[in-house]
Symmetry: C2
């Protein structure tokens, strides 16, 4: 990787202490934060740059000028409270908090690393006021905070940043109406209105129409301004101070990727043939150098025009270790995946879906603005008339699917597991209660990748769907098995099917038979001392690693790939485990509500020991997260050996 | 109970076949349906009259005049599709479907009975197009159906009825924007705009502001009319036929309880001192007679003015059995509860909450328009400044609580378990991930009362919250234990607490010690042959009944009241179960994800047999539902005896 340099805190102190014109100073500080956010993301190997750059001028204006938080301190009861509901713009916020001395240098350089900075906002990080990253909760949380301030007689304004695509989530409107009902004048929402969502224009996904009218119809005071112009922002916030009977919204017109020419969305969309490529993922070295150069140049110009000395950078390297990845494992992010396509179960899913689409005219695909992550873009291009883009609105997506399923269609519903199984849970219950059939593709299931943090990691989805009478939950471990399970779901299953899919690359190629039998797994490796059930490409890799290590210690561990998480063939299972004193299970899930619990329900007379993700999932590299939970092969080998001999 | 008569189908046939003026005929048919809905609810002992009467003119206009469904048949692919999203107006719809010959007389007289008609819409009932009852899903489902019709080239308009209070749910706005984006001109929403929700005016709960403006801001064509005037309704639907580029909304101005003078909301609100008492629950005999008399008189007048013969009624009784209730068990519904207040755990909850409110100034209570069902109205009256009415918007309520909890307050969040644990699941996850403390009161947990049907019965909530690292889940079995657990949650718990509460009366008084110890239950009854763990007043009653019956068969069954559903004191548990070959668990929950799974995780070497609610929860009287799931005392005694001897 290229040599990285960042702007030290002392440079921010120098600019902030200067007598330079306020608006010019804010613009300069914003660009300086842009540069450090770029460095942090490049170093992490992933992160959301487009959104960080888009919101940066607003964040800089708020934190360096408008709000009293840095003056009063982040623990002061009367402080202004700022947080971002969309959350993926957090690299920019981290850069500002670093500039203010709230986040130390070492942590800024450990973005998405264990013990560093979470990939999405988490209150364990200094300066972070609310956990976010799952969209649409911020206005509600902000109104709670504003209500608490008023109730307790505390001072301070509450300012919540939202994305515009994010405003497709219905919860926003619940928050808007409640804040208006409570006349919370100490609440302000800023919409980062760049008119783009993850990789397409909002109007192409699901239009927000006249956004200002929406806010007004929900009883809010609304202003609109250029979100990159500190003077305009200052004017809008000044006008808000005169509004004392209702909450205020500022629709800040912005450009996604602002400040780096080729990341700015008008250019980037044109270059990308209509899709935006800088939403997530770190730039390659060449793009990084170009972006860095542009920012350094403009910062230099701004310093000069304010009569300040030129910029001093410092090396971003140090004693710090480099990210360590699992074999073949890049981080999540559109840019980096295509190199090892054959090793992603989700690619097999996307390919097979297109094939099934050709064979089954009643198959329709629903998406919640994650078409490229969920690999359903190919289906969209092949069968646009059978593709429903629902926007960031999982509840609507599921209930719409329920309507389709009652009217002769077979919907395949796609989103990340953490959002789909949880936010749309009651809608799934309602659909399932109608006895129709829907396939739920739970993408990004499990602990890995662990960089985006707990809002995105899904370790509960099996428990969330397991008590539904007619939902079979499966997770394939290989591309072949993915194709076979999806085909079974479409062609044979007589109930709903939830198919969990790892989003990252498979760390090793796992050979599995092409034919599947409901309720039965595959013995990947024989062994007479103990038996371990696991599922999914990530955990089966660790299970096999554990078996290899145990073999060297003289313990023969059998490993079973078990894609059926809540449908067990009892007689097969009894046969497989009959000779073992102990059954071990490795969950890519909480130890509560996963495969282990299902095995215990079946194996009433045989002890089952479960290794799962205890507590909150760790944020970090794959290797860090697995080790943190003692679910890596070595830790597992140790645990099994001690339990086996115990 | 008073003698019941209903209008036979032949009378509807006579009116429909007449040459009477169309508008007058619709008004007449609506009143005839009102009468039969009243009879069905009276016979059932529960049901939602206010809403049925409010929507009745619209339903009659649609089903008897506007839509082609009854002509084409409910299976025809080109049929118009009508359903109600709010769903609790279903007695009125049943009455119309009975009049059309879709629902037979025997079923109409078995409302809320096993094998009869579900308390909320269910597609297993003829003429019901969608499951509803949990609010806010209908527009999304309707847009799915409309999309399917267009995609498949099928004819027919899709008409969805919504409540107005229901429009507080955020999902509605997801559905609106998506339907507008898709330009679904074959979709129409009718809002039953009576400006009242369960028992208070919408403007007092959370105002919808200028509702028409909301629809317009989301891209819909909007009309407003008198929802009790067939001519106006006809005009509105005629105008919709000219709209071919977008979906249409009709805001139908209505009166809740329309057609029965003292149930009409302007009068009823005044008589109720600002609260409306006819939302749920059957009228007492006197009110019933009065309502029946009014309707019969008006139907007579309408028949006369249309030149038709007078009305022939027939006895509603027959071979049919009378509702059988558990000892002391009335159905859910505000009107009937006050007689046995000492036997409701939820009353103890409401009382103790007021007491704790006096002692703890940081305690705040949040409600989602269920203040009287959840017994938080007393708190609202005692501490209005610490009561947050959030409207029917559970996601916003939970995220607002998250904001409060981070700012020095202790929120107690109230709703029905089926809505709170499921619809707001991701918001609870997000809150819990911040490490703050919130108390979640999961009302109406469990199978009973079973009359409202599966949208309201909550048999999954333990599984939905069980995989969260920091949520203790408890369910008290007596008023004393309720007070003790709530006090523990407020004063001692260091994590979030979810407290499950039965909404109905306790079938027997269960004596429990006042002191509680986390993780430990109480042995209610000794017995050396087998041991049964149960929780909550309903299931402990059945457990004790089973033990009594088994005793007569010479089997000594120990019964343990176990309020801790996911926090176990391992050594206490080991002691308690050590002498038993088998541990039995009776769940007021699915067998997946409840106490049984928690015991199995702890008791690795001892078989655990779980009796829980398998499949979808049955709709019926408490006794019917318990027997249907073989969870009544007699069935349990049988199961345990055969397992014990087996």
């Amino acid at each position: 990787m290229t040599q990285l340099s960042l702007i030290p805190k002392s440079e921010f102190d120098r600019v902030r202490a200067s007598n330079a014109d306020g608006d010019g100073r804010v613009a300069l500080l914003a660009d300086m934060c842009r540069l450090n956010a770029l460095v942090a993301v490049k170093r992490a190997g992933s992160g959301h740059l487009g959104s960080s750059l888009s919101a940066m001028d607003v964040v800089a204006f708020l934190l360096f000028e408008e709000l009293d938080t840095s003056r009063l301190g982040w623990d002061h009861p009367d402080r202004d409270v700022y947080f971002s509901s969309k959350g993926h713009d957090v690299p920019g916020l981290y850069a500002a908090l670093f500039a203010l001395g709230v986040i130390p240098r070492e942590r800024l350089l450990r973005l998405r690393r264990l013990g560093g900075l979470d990939g999405h906002p988490d209150v364990s990080v200094p300066g972070i006021e609310a956990n976010s990253g799952s969209l649409g909760m911020g206005i509600s949380k902000g109104r709670g905070i504003a209500w608490a301030k008023r109730h307790l007689g505390r001072g301070g304004q509450v300012v919540v940043m939202t994305g515009d695509g994010e405003l497709q989530e219905g919860q926003n409107y619940e928050g808007l109406q409640a804040a208006a009902q409570e006349r919370l004048a100490n609440l302000t929402v800023v919409v980062d209105r760049n008119e783009l969502q993850s990789d397409k224009p909002t109007d192409e996904i699901v239009s927000l129409g006249e956004l200002e009218e929406r806010f007004r119809a929900f009883g809010w005071h609304v202003e609109t301004c250029d979100g990159h112009d500190p003077r305009a922002l200052r004017g809008a916030f000044a006008s808000f101070r005169a509004v004392n009977d209702r909450p205020q919204a500022l629709v800040a017109r912005t450009i996604k990727g602002k400040g780096v020419s080729f990341m700015e969305h008008p250019i980037a969309l044109a270059e990308g043939g209509g899709t935006y490529r800088w939403h997530a993922g770190a730039p390659d070295d060449e793009s990084y150098e170009r972006a860095f150069g542009e920012l350094v140049a403009r910062i230099g110009e701004r310093l000069g025009s304010l009569g300040l000395d030129s910029l001093a950078l410092e090396l971003a390297d140090g004693a710090d270790d480099r990210p360590e990845t699992l074999e073949g494992e890049p981080e999540s992010g559109a840019g980096t995946r295509s190199q090892v396509t054959h090793d992603y179960v989700v690619n097999a899913y996307g390919d097979e879906l297109v094939r099934l689409g050709a064979e089954h005219e009643h198959l329709v695909v629903l998406d919640a603005d994650l078409a490229s992550d969920c690999r359903v873009r190919a289906f969209e291009l092949a069968y646009p008339e059978r593709f429903l883009e629902c926007g960031i609105a999982e509840q609507d997506m599921v209930s719409a699917a329920a309507g389709l399923a009652r009217h002769a269609l077979l919907p395949v519903v796609n989103s990340f597991a953490s959002f789909l199984a949880s936010r749309a849970n009651e809608q799934i219950y309602n659909q399932a209660s109608e006895g129709s059939k829907v396939i739920y593709a739970l993408h990004y299931a499990g602990l890995i990748p662990a960089g985006p943090g707990k809002s995105h990691q899904s370790l509960r989805d099996v428990s969330l769907l397991g008590a539904l009478p007619n939902v079979a939950i499966v997770q394939p471990a290989s591309p072949d098995e993915t194709r076979a399970l999806l085909r079974w779901a479409v062609e044979e299953a007589t109930e709903n099917v939830a198919i969990r899919l790892a989003i990252g690359p498979s760390p090793r190629r796992i050979e599995l038979p092409e034919a599947i039998t409901p309720g039965r797994g595959t013995i990947l490796r024989a062994g007479e001392d103990a038996i371990l059930f696991a599922y999914g490409p990530v955990m089966l890799n660790e299970a096999l690693t554990a078996a290899e290590q145990l073999e060297r210690r003289g313990v023969e561990l059998a490993v079973v790939a078990m894609p059926w998480l809540n449908r067990l063939d009892g007689s097969w299972l009894a046969d497989v485990v009959s000779t073992y004193r102990h059954v071990f299970v490795l969950e890519d899930h909480s130890p509560v509500g996963g495969l282990g619990d299902a095995l215990r329900r079946e194996l009433e007379d045989q002890p089952v020991t479960v290794y799962g993700v205890e507590g909150w999932p760790a944020c970090g590299t794959p290797a860090e997260a697995l080790r943190a939970h003692r679910l890596d092969g070595s830790s597992l080998a140790e645990s099994i050996a001690s339990r086996h001999s115990g």
